[in-house]
Amino acid sequence: MSGADHILSVDRLSMRFGGIVAVNELSFAAERKKITALIGPNGAGKTTVFNCITGFYKPTGGTMRLAADSGAIALERLNDFRISKLARVARTFQNIRLFPGMTVLENLMVAQHNTLMRASGLTFLGLFGVPSWRAAEKRAIEHATFWLNRIGLYDRADDAAGNLAYGDQRRLEIARAMCTEPVLLCLDEPAAGLNARESAALSELLLSIRAEQGTSILLIEHDMSVVMEISDHVVVMDYGVKIAEGAPHEVRDDPRVIAAYLGADEEEAIAVMESDT
């Protein structure tokens, strides 16, 4: 791992809600153009980590560095929409958050908001339909069409997003995140609720995004077949702390991970932890 090209370095990240410590001094790194998985039992604090990285929570401690082309960006100092706009970190949600009353194409157009806003001269030029705005809009539609073809939803472009099947909605949400042209894509349980065929298609899509767009991916996942198949690096969390990390096969055989997942009783777990340190 030493000397590796890290896109994201999380250092001693902590998040407290009142007296509850959801994430406690968590450190890990995600490599550029690799797929990093964050796994752990329910309530381990994975989504909290995601919410900190994507600016929905302000962490109580620690730093998160994003190695962008223009230099390192301190994610903990950006908030809200700026994470996506300035740092180019995109995310999806555990419970799909599309714009159900807008068409599939419109969903992808909204994702290109900041580019289009600039092209429309902050609306004023666009209001009068100047040629440069029309060209920008055409490019945005082409960009959306490209992603529609990638996820196989070209024929559904003019349907309402809320009318799509569950698996299609999951893929559309990933395409929408990719339309923001991110350097880091954070996926919160992308395979949840998918059948075997759909999760295979998802794995293929994520691998192709890594290979063709060169986007680094950070994902939370429960579906171990997906994690084992596509991840380059796995970080395991339990009770807000990191309990293991490494290549998928290493993590799979780690006794602490097995204990955490199988719910070994506490004494046994402590014994396992202590024997190792």
Binding site: F81, A90, L98, F99, L105, V110, L116, G126, I141, T145
Partner: protein, 442 residues
């Protein structure tokens, strides 16, 4: 009384037959009895010496309760006959598709008719006046539609911007003698500044809380106008507000008037026709801008905000400026309409800017179908024009009007035009069913 206290909506037996229907009717009749026994059954009045006089009207009470009882049975029978699909089935499918087909011609036909109104009704001053009033509300409805219909921010204080626009024009014109055409943009800009000022404190509020604060804002503006006597004239209002001019010529009798310059006889209707075309042009401008904005990134961001604010933030959309621009745009059109109102009336006072107005404009937007331009125009026509139509019914006017609104909301719960038209398409634009479109949570 034991049996009537049972739950009237027993979901385990939706089709339980006569016993269920009778039970439901009895409950309704009992509620009616309790309500009407005081409202109708006993009539009280102050006597000549200040003493209380009362008499009973049990006959009328019995009639009303009987009507409720029978009506309840009829409604329940109709509901069972229709099946679980509900009231939307009341209109048969061929009629509904017929409506959809006719819908494409409604907007152009309505526009042509509106353009011809002054020609057709030239000698009916009352109708021209009413048409100007309807168009003012169409414009207000379209303005509020940006905030409520597109951005999904429930604004109960829209009248504040209407008031700011009206007072801006009235004060600028009477104090500095500026003409209507210079004051119009100024009034709009001032109103939209107020829109931004309202926007800031309410950015973090959602739903009911947003509604309450905007309601308070509307009242604050009105109270400031009432109490700031030295500037606004307080409850006395501002009078002799100048009328708009055409290329600098006032539409007045006398040697300087437009009629004298053109060498035609002066007719007061000319001014009315002129006002009609001003408000029509302003309303159409509002419509054009709104339609354009919907297809621009800002308009899509408004609609996305209504659908899911969290997802917007994850896509890098600045929700703060997006909300503020929605408030500012809505307020801008409200301000324009206010300036027009002031110049049309020639006199304004705080009485014209009560909560009643906000509620009326909001009702137009909701009834029309949130987000739909044509729907809002039709609703304004129905609400303002229809209200005049029922004038012959005298004291039952409100009752008929209320019933008409309830029926419309049962038939079309998401407004006259509830579906949403997409802003961009690849192959074919398909309308989106109202079931999928969110109403927004503030």
């Amino acid at each position: 009384m034991g049996r009537v206290t049972a739950s009237p909506t027993d979901h385990k037996h939706p089709q339980a037959g006569i016993a269920f229907i009778l039970k439901k009717a009895l409950v309704s009749a009992f509620v009616a009895l309790v309500l009407f026994s005081l409202m109708i059954g006993v009539r009280t009045e102050a006597g000549p010496n200040g003493q209380l006089i009362y008499w009973t009207r049990f006959g009328e009470l019995a009639t009303l309760v009987a009507i409720v009882f029978v009506g309840s049975i009829v409604i329940e029978l109709v509901r069972q006959w229709l099946g679980p699909a509900g009231a939307s089935q009341l209109v048969p499918a061929p009629v509904q598709t017929g409506f959809a087909a006719a819908g494409r011609f409604v907007a152009p036909a309505l526009l042509i008719f509106t353009l011809l109104v002054p020609v057709i009704f030239y000698h009916q001053r009352y109708i021209l006046d009413l048409a100007i009033l309807v168009l003012t509300y169409v414009m207000l409805g379209w303005g509020l539609n940006v905030v409520v219909g597109l951005a999904g921010l429930l604004d109960l204080g829209y009248v504040a911007f209407y008031a700011v626009g009206a007072y801006s024009y009235a004060l600028l014109a009477t104090t500095f003698g500026l003409s209507f055409w210079i004051c119009l943009p100024l009034a709009g800009i001032l109103a939209s500044l107020w829109g931004v000022m309202l926007g800031f404190p309410v950015l973090r509020l959602r739903g009911d809380y947003l509604a309450i604060v905007t309601l308070a804002f509307g009242e604050i503006i009105r109270l400031v106008i009432v109490n700031w006597q030295s500037l606004t004239g307080g409850p006395n209002g501002i009078s002799s507000i100048p009328r708009p001019t055409l290329f600098g010529f006032p539409l007045l009798p006398g040697p300087n008037g437009l009629a004298a310059k053109l060498g035609i006889a002066f007719d007061p209707t000319h001014r009315l026709v002129f006002l009609f075309y001003i408000i029509l042009a302003m309303a159409l401008l509002t419509n054009w801008v709104t339609i354009r904005l919907r297809r621009l990134p800002i308009g899509r961001a408004w609609e996305a905000l209504r659908e899911d604010e969290v997802a917007c933030r994850a896509l890098g959309i600045n929700t703060t400026t997006t909300k503020l621009t929605a408030f500012a745009t809505g307020a801008l059109f409200g301000g324009f309409a206010g300036a027009f109102f002031a110049t049309r009336q020639g006199f304004i006072s705080p009485e014209s800017f009560t909560f009643q107005e906000s509620a009326l404009v909001l009702a137009i937007v909701v009834l029309g179908g949130m987000g739909s331009q044509l729907g809002v125009a039709l609703a304004a026509l129905a609400m303002i024009g229809g209200f005049e139509l029922f004038r012959g019914l005298e004291q039952y006017r409100m009752l008929v009007f209320g019933i008409a609104m309830v029926v419309l909301m049962i038939w079309r719960p998401r407004g006259i035009i509830g579906h949403r038209a997409p802003t961009v398409y690849l192959k074919q634009a398909q309308t989106i069913s109202s079931d999928l479109v969110k109403e927004g949570h503030g």
